[in-house]
Chain length 343, copies 3
């Protein structure tokens, strides 16, 4: 059970309500009135909890689970223990997400400007926004309805933030325009000047960075990640993109819709990721490239060329995943052969 100091739970909910929330089907309609009080992991859940099974790695836990109800793929239904109510979904994790959101909805902060915040007279702050203690809001800033600005966050002049955003503590935003329902975690830095300068043996000379960062609707950016503003064009984070912690996005980069960048990955300047492209953890993409829609770059991979839509690569330099694993197999054989030769 979630720690009630940190999390406020709603409910209980009837099973038929939960199935509806998840756009999913009950395995047995007659169980629709059973009530559930909480969600829980499959190995911890009790009779009043609902759980889910998505990763087949955890299927071994299903038979022993004491959960009162489980969301799972129809093909797994017959493996469930007797008495466990089942919600059937072809996307169990997605269904679980909706149900867990119903039990643990996000709560808007209380509107108002904390007296310790330093807010320019020339900022336009919605009456429904919540500005945290010690936040600093510059001239010409616009902040939308029900948006929350975290404690000690600094919003530079003329930055615009849409409605229902959550900006974490200690963020520093400058030269950027932010859409609606954007979530920035603590320590995010947006809009610093890109890493642009003319190198030379007598010293490097800065090139003014004259673009902005555009963050479209429904984007999430993780703690201490950084997005530089463009050099001339803008840096753009497409709608619905998910960026994890400690990720670096260089100047002029354009992410399409729904891109996913896992922790410590990075994208060099002027590269474009098309919709739903994915970078796994610690992956890097060189500058001036185009990564096709839905392409997937594996963990620690280093991409030095354009990728086709849907291409899946791994390795540094990155190559198609199958090729990479074939190569690793060949390496293994080389080493084993050598080992035998040495005996």
């Amino acid at each position: 059970m979630a720690d009630t100091r940190f999390f406020r739970r709603e409910g209980p909910f009837k099973l038929e309500e939960l199935a509806k929330i998840a756009s999913a089907q009950l395995d047995d309609e007659s169980e629709g009135q059973r009530e559930f009080k909480d969600v829980a992991p499959i190995s911890d859940a009790g009779p009043e909890d609902l759980t889910f099974l998505d990763n087949r790695r955890y299927a071994v836990h299903l038979a022993q689970s004491r959960a009162g109800a489980c969301i799972l793929h129809p093909s797994m239904a017959e493996r469930a223990p007797k008495g466990m109510a089942l919600i059937l979904s072809k996307e169990p994790y997605r269904a679980y997400a909706s149900i867990a959101q119903a039990f643990y909805p996000t709560h808007a902060a209380t509107p108002g400007i904390h007296p310790s915040a330093i807010v320019s007279d020339r900022a336009e702050i919605s009456d429904k926004a919540a500005i945290g203690p010690g936040a600093v809001i510059g001239d010409g800033v616009k902040i939308g309805d029900e948006t929350e600005i975290g404690a000690n966050t600094v919003i530079g002049q003329y930055v615009e933030i849409g409605e229902r955003c959550v900006i974490g503590a200690n963020c520093a935003l400058t030269h950027c325009l932010i859409g609606a329902r954007v979530h920035l975690h603590a320590g995010v830095c947006l809009g610093n000047r890109g890493f642009g300068f003319a190198m030379g043996p007598l010293g490097h000379r800065d090139v003014p960075q004259l673009g902005r960062v555009i963050v479209e609707d429904d984007v999430e950016i993780g703690a201490n990640s950084t997005v530089d503003r463009g050099a001339g064009p803008d840096t753009v984070i497409g709608a619905g993109s998910k960026i994890d912690n400690l990720v670096q996005i260089g100047h002029n980069v354009r992410l399409g819709r729904g891109c996913v960048l896992v922790a410590q990955s990075g994208v060099a300047g002027s590269t474009q990721l098309d919709d739903f492209a994915v970078l796994a953890a610690q992956a890097g993409v060189a500058g001036h490239l185009r990564i096709g829609a839905g392409a997937q770059v594996g963990a620690q991979a280093g991409v030095m060329r354009d990728l086709d839509p849907g291409e899946q690569v791994l390795g540094s330099p990155a190559m198609p995943v199958k090729r990479f694993f074939r190569l690793v197999n060949l390496w293994n054989r080389m080493v084993e052969k050598k080992g035998k030769a040495d005996e």
Copy 2:
């Protein structure tokens, strides 16, 4: 000599006191009354300084060193120049650590709440704690004796911090429980929601992250590192673990006791590191794995499978260290053979 603006030195100490502090032996007991004023690196130390020799790479400096005293391994004693007092220890670096701590002890901050801090009436702050300027402390927070909260750090509601902790400037802590004697450097972010969502072509759906971050006693976390809270279970940082700068720890990760994670390394969600496991710089471990006790992951290695206790790996994908170096040798030969064939 350390810059006295930044460091306050104690002493002088007699050699016998220093040997006792280090739990080590004097090479010549008759020198126990000699006094020493400071510690210094082997190439800079003078007659009133104590130095140490640990890394044999620096043994060449021993004969020329002007240090009045040196902590070293008994086997190195005969290489020391005449007149240099010797403290013998099988762990010279550890012995040095204790002695240097005696010369340069950490000083507790003056207790009290800075008038510019914004502290909830419903927080429980020890009278012996020190809350820095501009710090923001939420409802229900508990802070223990002699704990210091850095300037402009933000502590979210119901966070608990034990005694004798040092929390640096500009940290952002939420959804976490912290033990005693924990040291967080500047910019650390704990307890943000993990990177959990159901991916889908029409948009990604957030999965509520209902766990916490538990930081056990004596943990150190470096500047701008990030630890996400668990999805349901907690994320746990085991007692005495040392985490460097810019490290990422994903949701549900469990570190055992005394783990060491060097700069820019990362651990993906739900992976467990057993006691005293080590990740070198820029290494990464994939999710849902178990890294055995004392296993060592080399710099930039990428671990994609469980590791046995004590296993040492390198490469991406990671393999046993010896195997990796054998493979690198084979690569070298391939290239050289090819070079010759091209001539």
Copy 3:
């Protein structure tokens, strides 16, 4: 055109003025009186804009460009469309940097200490410095003329910052001495204790870190980067060095003049980079090494040995660039041969 909310433009400028600013030549002196209002990328520029061509990748855009003027290499002049005024330079990007700086000069912040800043009585702040809202300045700090301290930045006691520096928002500086014209972006952490401790099965013991961070003149450090103070010697960032976002510099590291460290790269303790050495993104250098002047470490490379001046390496472990690409070719052949054998 740059967003005028974020950028203040000067001008217009006559072409002859711009050529002089760039220390470059007009292709046709008779055009010296033509006026230009702005700079713009080659594909967006209009008749009153000046653009540049540096990366030959973009040469295809030259013939179609509507730019009124272009800075380019003399060898490209004949490819320009008729009517486009030309400024000829062997370093077009460097020339553009100077001109763009003339159109968009940096503006010093208004001097003064914001009333919400918390500044020690024992700090020495120039009357011409600008201290932002919520900044915290400790005892004995010195801040030079025309230096700007960002909002909510924390400057620890006895830190010294020279003239004409720009320190971003939410930085945390301790145990450091900073020269003139240094630019730290948001979230930079300088001077935290290095990752130094004696490891042991009963717990790790901290080694006091008694050095400082010395940042020489004209250095730039990117958002959320971290530089640890030395263990005994200082950590030194040489004059004119450029450090990107999320970079880690360990204790005792010494960077020479004009070094360039791209995003997410890292340098382990006690390593020295000589003048103008370059680390590309996500590269890492192990500890106790020496990287020769002008050496270049490619993206994601992992350096485990000293590098000669000018050496160019790639791969992990790093090897000469040509050798690395030869090796990659051999890998490709191995996989293709295997693929055929399997058919």
